[in-house]
């Protein structure tokens, strides 16, 4: 596809050429573009081009009431929307000094972890698809759908739950949903050996992904890499453990790491994380029936709700890394400023541009997927 005012550029008799990768390209996650300069099939330089999914979130959030933004925030990241809701809600709670009831905290943790499982299942499919292997995609998406069914039961919607609100959650869990979730988890877990057959123990995949897009520990630290991508470089940092929120300090879970720092290591970390999330979910399923009480603290009338002035930086570990919301209130009915620090903003721009040069063209898509770069979160 050509941009407007396209003028055919006469290249010198060089072996280098320019390639527009995306936005309309099946190897791109979402709607995003990379401008590559190639020599043969080796990438010489790579520039990210975003903004195709720009909706001006930060601006329109300033135009809406505090409660109305509950509906807006999940849309910032489509594959993993719950951390967005959680982080925004927590930022408002911190500003307003709201106390979240214990039960709501557990329910929110349940939502977060279930969303992580979804995102990782989606990720396996996506990563395999960038290598031309679609069976994994079919499996991952189908298994993820079972969790979406649980979401639908709890929140009334499949993708955009708009369920977590400042002060708690919007509805209590329906009867028996924990049992059904437990069954789905058993099923997902039982599927992992099958995924292993197809993907994780597949020599083609292993060879294809090993050594691709390798990040060293130093690079990872200095480039601001977070989340599973950082843990794939051997650094066991996780917001849930180091800057705990909700009831995460009451949960027992490990932080899986790998040392290689390449695309394969990133995938393996996520596979382990999936298991850890299932482990967390089992703890939550065991505990939640014992945690009673309200699901939301008393909120002021949402039409006349002035959140006290101040600023907070709330962080959550999303499936993609560290998610931060910097929320400023001037004491009014609407936020004065909301800055969303999506984890992918680092991975999809800064890191990708540096990992790209030197790699082969066919690996570019794989690198992007293995970083789990989520364009809507970059573009906001």
């Amino acid at each position: 596809m050509r941009p407007e005012n396209y003028k055919p550029v006469q290249h010198s008799a060089s072996h280098e050429y320019e390639l527009y990768f995306g936005p309309n390209h099946p190897g791109i996650e979402g709607n995003y573009a990379l401008k590559c300069v190639l020599s043969g099939d080796v990438v010489q330089s790579l520039r990210a081009d975003g903004g195709y999914l720009h909706r001006g979130f930060e601006k329109i959030m300033e135009e809406r009431l505090w409660i109305q933004n509950v509906a807006l925030v999940p849309r910032i990241c489509v594959p993993d929307p719950v951390p967005m809701e959680e982080t925004y809600a927590r930022a408002v709670e911190m500003l307003g000094g709201l106390e979240i009831p214990k039960r709501a905290q557990w329910i929110r943790a349940l939502m977060l972890e279930a969303s992580r499982v979804c995102a990782h299942l989606f990720y396996f499919g996506g990563h395999a698809a960038t290598m031309g292997m679609y069976s994994n995609m079919f499996w991952g998406v189908t298994d993820r759908d079972l969790i979406l069914d649980i979401f639908e039961e709890i929140t009334g919607a499949r993708i955009y739950h708009m369920y977590i609100t400042p002060g708690g959650v919007r509805r209590d869990l329906p009867e028996g949903v924990l049992d059904r979730l437990s069954k789905v988890l058993d099923y997902v877990e039982s599927r992992l050996p099958e995924f292993d057959n197809l993907f994780f123990d597949n020599a083609v995949v292993i060879n294809r992904a090993t050594g691709v897009g390798t990040l060293t520990t130093e690079q990872a630290l200095s480039w601001g890499v977070t989340g599973p991508n950082l843990r794939a470089c051997g650094l066991p940092f996780d917001v849930r453990r180091d800057d705990p929120y909700l009831i995460y300090d009451e949960l027992d879970f490990d932080i899986p790491t790998e040392t290689a720092g390449d695309a394969w290591a990133r995938t393996l970390v996520r596979r382990e994380e999936l298991l850890q999330s299932i482990r967390i979910l089992r703890q939550i399923i065991a505990t939640l029936p014992k945690v009673g009480g309200p699901i939301r603290c008393a909120l002021p009338n949402p039409l006349a709700w002035n959140v006290p002035a101040g600023s907070v930086y709330a962080r959550t570990e999303s499936s993609k890394g560290e998610l931060g919301f910097f929320v400023v209130s001037k004491g009014g009915a609407k936020p004065w400023r909301v800055h969303v620090r999506g984890p992918s903003s680092m991975h999809a721009v800064h890191v990708l541009e540096r990992l790209g040069p030197g790699s082969r063209l066919e690996d570019v898509a794989q690198i992007m997927f293995s970083l789990d770069a989520c364009p809507p979160e970059v573009d906001r």
Partner: protein, 249 residues
């Protein structure tokens, strides 16, 4: 490529009222077959795209009705606008749409394509999709679930089968109007590589609003048109050819 519009290529897309009985029967047969093998362009323009993998994969399996994602616009039949479109994406969408071969169908997914949706007050997104490209079908939801997307595809298949999904012809007949809307957003320098006017002539889909003040802005790119061997849209020349029927809407 034939460069003379007068040779009026016997193309299968002439309007029904101009066709002979046999032609119409053949059209219906073609439509019937076409409806059973639709390729959807693989382009995630917005958030609704997240529900497409489930729709296309095992669980809601749209391959059973002959649908499949297709990676190139040239071979795709359906352009799915999955929700909001930023102005920046709209340019690519228009270019993609123009690259697709007729007959082609556009489906608007969710609130954003209808009246701005969630992002009605955003400076970055467009509000009414049908102002920029013709749309064949819509679906309510934010975002619509896979079963609902199935239904919109089935509905579209039925419309194609019955010969009702003709919105793509509107783009040729009223190209000046569509281009004007696009220019309002992108500026009058806006130009896509596809020669829509030339195609309209060849498909015999020139309407009263195919050419106008907005297409006149394209004249300045004439050297480029010539260089590519594409017919320049030239109102004067078209007037001189009475056999070219102007179809009024």
């Amino acid at each position: 490529m034939s460069t003379d519009p007068n040779q009026a290529v016997a193309c299968r897309t002439v309007d029904a009222e101009e066709r002979s009985l046999l032609g119409r029967v053949l059209d219906r047969i073609a439509d019937h077959c076409r409806a059973r093998s639709l390729f959807v362009l693989h382009y995630c323009t917005g958030c609704g795209a997240i529900e497409l993998p489930p729709t296309m994969t095992s669980r809601f399996d749209l391959e059973r009705v002959g649908m499949q994602p297709m990676v190139t616009p040239r071979q795709a039949d359906i352009l799915l606008i999955t929700g909001y479109l930023s102005v920046k994406t709209l340019k690519r969408v228009v270019m993609t749409y123009e690259q697709m071969q007729g007959p082609k169908y556009v489906i608007g997914l969710g609130s954003c394509t209808i009246n701005g949706g969630m992002y009605w007050n955003s400076y970055a997104t467009i509000k009414l999709l049908d102002r920029y490209i013709p749309v064949d079908n819509y679906i309510a939801g934010c975002m619509p679930r896979p079963e609902a997307i199935q239904q919109v595809f089935l509905d579209l298949m039925g419309r194609i089968d019955r010969g009702e999904a003709q919105a793509w012809k509107d783009y040729y007949r009223r190209y000046d109007w569509y281009l004007g809307q696009q220019q309002q957003l992108f500026g009058t320098n806006w130009q896509a590589p596809t020669d829509v006017v030339g195609e309209a002539i060849r498909y015999r889909l020139v309407g009263e609003q195919t050419l106008g003040s907005h297409t006149a802005h394209l004249e300045r790119y004439a050297p480029y048109y010539d260089q590519l061997g594409i017919i320049r849209p030239e109102p004067a020349r078209m007037k001189a050819r009475p056999q070219l029927e102007v179809v009024s809407r």
